[in-house]
Symmetry: C3
Subunit: 463 residues, 3 copies
């Protein structure tokens, strides 16, 4: 077997016993996935997933960034190629380098997928490469591996996608009209219409105006257009927005100043500082709209996108070259919090790629402001050690109840159960340590485990 | 029972056995509390403490910040209300939300108080709220719960308060004149007369001049006045000063420049930079006076005070909205250290709210400069995980002997034994791990445990 | 005995058993030491080491910084004294303060040296000071303790020194000509000719020109001179360069601009910003030369050198007063990486004194760019806790294979086996935890342990 039943639990026997018991309590709870990057079209069309390489290697930048770091060429992996010539060869390259993933969460996720979905029992390697390829390729063509069947098999209760503000969401509409019971909900991601540095910003705003019948080139019309777009998302079950800004900077300009800044950025003549200020102002505007319409805000700052210039020019975005940067929250969020921080009906979920902020800024902020909650460890930190550091560094100040459960945040649909399983096991391991050190009573740990798995995410995301 | 005898010890049996033995060696040592915020008037007047809500909820921003973060209104908690209308209701709100504190040090402290002081055996909850309220309220009226009786019962050897430089310390004088043997010592906190941004700065300096008979509006007179105020504190047993600046910035201006800067800030026309420079200069001046008079300096930088503007306007300071900020020491302290860093008779104790500085700046600085010592984990980090991180990150570079034992730093007098108990247990747990991993010999661990509990604090604070 | 056979292994029995087995697998592998500060002259001359104080106390700033921090005077330790008057007294001061090192890696290293090299069985203290002094002094005069004999006894396969670019390496040449089989390789350290703020910068460049026959005062001649110096090092077996800049800043100026900047700095009229930009440009130039000649680059940024001004004036460099500073990599390295980041034949090894960058910047960078590798925990972090933090924080993103094994980085030749032993034990302890938590399979852990000890360093440094 690839997986041990006790994986991720503490090795000390008394703590392990407690971890097992806690895990049994939560392992079969439904999956609530309030933030991720799966495609609604999969569930609208319900067609078979393609071959193993296209499914598990080429779209997963966790996988190919590691291969690339060790000298594998992206061309050999046929990254960015529309019609892949030799998926079996791509798979073999991956299989031959599988040892690189030792000690990484990718290894844990993939072994789970291989064993639990495809029944593999021997480790992936050059020797087993073809066996894996053939087995997976064949199973993907069976009805049990169609997207809707997997959704049900995974015991998913709700699955949120992430969608541009100007996306008309045809696949979400098609799913709702299809009579299928799966809940695939959109998330409102307005980066392309609120970030002047986003490629196509001005064209996107023109399109937003056309879609909403508002004069999106005036400040008030632009805001009205955003309100209408949000309403359109809400009508399809959307409960949250998502904001992927470079920093957490917020602003709270006087209305006249905000209107002037809007005219500047819409003119195409803004500089980097004005762009930053506009994004900052728009976070506050989004908070204002959330107070009105109840959408939960998610703020995901601190990634230096497309750090590798040459690869960006050749392959575009999302090729594994986004690198975290130091991120400040305590000053950056102040303007927004001055305005809306005490709103009890507003929920803002903060994420970070800078772990130093857990104990220094994020836990103290979330342990005070009623509108703030802490998102789970994100991206590079969505891993056993990363999750453990989050609990160790945030819990003593923010408690458990200012956190919001787990996000799988993934493009890799097949890995969703694996990722939730790692999160459930790690949270149970943390709680087991607290119980075994008599820092929390066992009956309380059971309640908390349920909250971390199911209760908190449902309430925080209003699902 | 609310508390397990083995709480906070490692679960691995061999390490736990060692932790127990170490703890037995130090658990009954006297409490030395060199830094805190209890009120001398309690011990001067020796009157009963008020009701449970007023004693344990309303003054404790650790408690009500968590309640507030989860939507409880400060008005419902009657925060800032002089004549509380319904303490039983306030207590019930607290009791109903007691689950929020799972995993926090507040929970550990409070359970200790409930069990060890008030004999409670059932967990606090909505169901036991009235039982707790009535039991505690009744016991508070008994002679055993008067401040002086508790001081003795707690086995406190010395307890330092924190006092403004212009405080005439009538309660400390009254205690000394009373014949009671308790040692309640003042600490010299000059923020209000050295920080131009402190409310009432200029009036405070005028008052300082009047109290000392010096011309406090001239630079030399101002320094002379501070020297006299320090002497007044020392006469009452004070051994330390305390400095709560926004940053650790120090300066070492030429005397003429310092005098000019003083004239600027005393004129009321200084800007933020000048205020910062003046505070910076005053840390160096305070170090100079400490070289002369032997007072130990404590520097507590890095808190963004009153982050929540609306609450500050309504409720004032200390309502749980102070948030840590990134803090630099390596550049900031250089001017002071250039002048006094090699003084072997000077002691400066550094604190931080930015844990990233433990291994990067503070341990390397304290492991070199003879005047520097590291204060214990502070405020948000005064917790089992926080203390463990401090030991893990500071010890390998600074050793144990450049640290100064524990500070309870609390307004909550009743929680003092609980806090020292958590610190003793956590230090013993750390040492037990070192012993069980053969990184330190057991006989040495006993010596170190005694130092961390009693020896170091006595020597560092000159008590 | 001073050392326990199970030191540094987890106390939990199942994890300890695994750690022991892993350690047995690697404990006797040869020592590969690709970065350090031993002196080639020891091996060229092969003369006895001096007395215990001169060997183990006076050159080791880890040792005397701790003594100094606790009030011991550097004069009493006869630091910087050419003809030490009373080495026995110096040794006694050290011995009397040996308790200060409890919990530090220095203690682990020294006890290893005392027991394994000198056969001591009683702990060092005031009482055993003379016994130690006499025993060590006597043994140092025996043939078994000559440098070459120790090199062989330590089972060293290769030992790199660190050498100024203008060093003519007479000792390395002498060793090669001697017929002795030890591999003592130079490392090319050009700080003194690429950093305008280095003492003697301009004189060093003049000397470089003379040595190479190039016009080192023109930009092209200067670069040509550096190329020749590198070739001279390579001819003696050098495989790596080393760069100890204050920051990780790189630049990629147009050739004309770089030439102008060179003229500015060579004129002696550059300011701090120009000096920083020149160092930044030179890292990129060094990378360009490494692409050509295959030398591995090591970048060691982030130390505020000579922080204690008074001691620097009196005793000079390297007296324990270098303090880490916050260090940025994600922006700083971008210009160099834009140019050479995707070169698969280039190897750049990054070190840090700012542990916050492990998970935030370094692991994400090394887990993507083919040219980047992570050096082991450095200097203050070269310790059991520091190594464990590195593995915990870097592995999940960068994996094991983007790291490069261990550097002892030491002046203290006798401590080399001790330091490698601590690293091997700590890595085995980390792997044992992964195995016992079923995050990696045992057979894989054996392979990884071998890589971390021997395979990775050989390949990364091209040895």
């Amino acid at each position: 077997m690839l997986l041990n039943e006790d994986r991720l639990f503490p090795s000390e026997p008394s703590a392990r016993r407690i971890a097992r018991a806690l895990y049994e309590h939560v392992r079969n709870l439904p999956i609530v996935s309030p933030h991720g990057h799966t495609q609604a079209s999969w569930f609208a069309k319900n067609e078979p997933f393609p071959d193993p390489a296209k499914l598990l290697v080429q779209p997963d930048h966790y996988v190919f960034r590691m291969l690339y770091s060790q000298g594998v060429s992206l061309d050999d992996l046929e990254i960015g190629v529309e019609h892949v010539k030799d998926p079996r060869k791509v798979w073999r390259i991956f299989a031959s380098h599988y040892h690189l993933f030792r000690g990484t969460p990718t290894r844990l996720w993939l072994d789970f997928v291989f064993q639990e979905l495809f029944g593999m029992q021997e480790r992936l390697s050059a020797a087993t490469s073809d066996l894996y390829f053939d087995t997976i390729a064949e199973m993907l063509q069976t009805p049990e591996f169609l997207p809707r069947a997997l959704y049900e098999r995974f015991h998913i209760e709700v699955l949120a996608t992430t969608d541009a503000a100007v996306d008309l969401l045809p696949d979400h509409i098609a799913i709702q009209n299809s009579g299928w019971q799966g809940r695939i909900l959109p998330t409102f991601r307005p980066d392309a219409v609120v970030d002047p540095e986003f490629a196509g910003f001005r064209e996107n705003i023109t399109l937003l105006g056309e879609q909403t019948g508002e004069d999106a080139h005036s400040w008030q019309g632009y805001l009205a257009a955003l309100r209408k777009a949000r309403a359109r998302f809400r009508a399809l079950g959307c409960t949250a927005t998502d904001h992927g800004h470079p920093t957490a900077r917020t602003a709270n300009l006087a209305p006249g100043d905000a209107a002037k800044l809007f005219q500047q950025v819409i003119s195409g003549h803004s500089d980097a500082h004005q762009a930053e200020m506009f994004r900052a102002q728009m976070l506050t505007e989004m908070a204002r709209m959330s107070v009105e319409d109840g959408l939960v805000m998610q703020i995901h700052p601190g990634s230096a996108r497309n750090h590798n210039e040459k690869l960006f020019e050749r392959y575009g975005r999302d090729i594994g070259a986004d690198i975290p940067t130091p991120t400040n929250y305590v000053d950056a969020l102040r303007p927004l919090l001055d305005q809306f921080g005490n709103e009890r009906d507003l929920t803002i979920i903060l994420f970070t790629l800078d772990e130093t902020t857990y104990s220094r800024e994020l836990a103290p902020l979330a342990g005070h402001y009623p509108c703030l909650r802490l998102g789970p460890p994100w991206w590079f930190h969505d891993s056993p050690e990363g999750m453990m550091r989050f609990r160790e560094q945030a819990t003593e100040t923010a408690g458990f109840y200012n956190t919001v459960g787990f996000n799988d945040d993934t493009r890799a649909f097949l890995s969703i159960p694996a990722r939730h399983d790692v999160a459930r096991r790690t949270d149970c391991a943390f709680l087991a340590r607290l119980v075994s050190e008599h820092r929390i009573e066992e009956d309380e740990a059971f309640e908390v485990a349920w909250e971390l798995t199911y209760g908190l995410v449902k309430r925080a995301y209003r699902l």
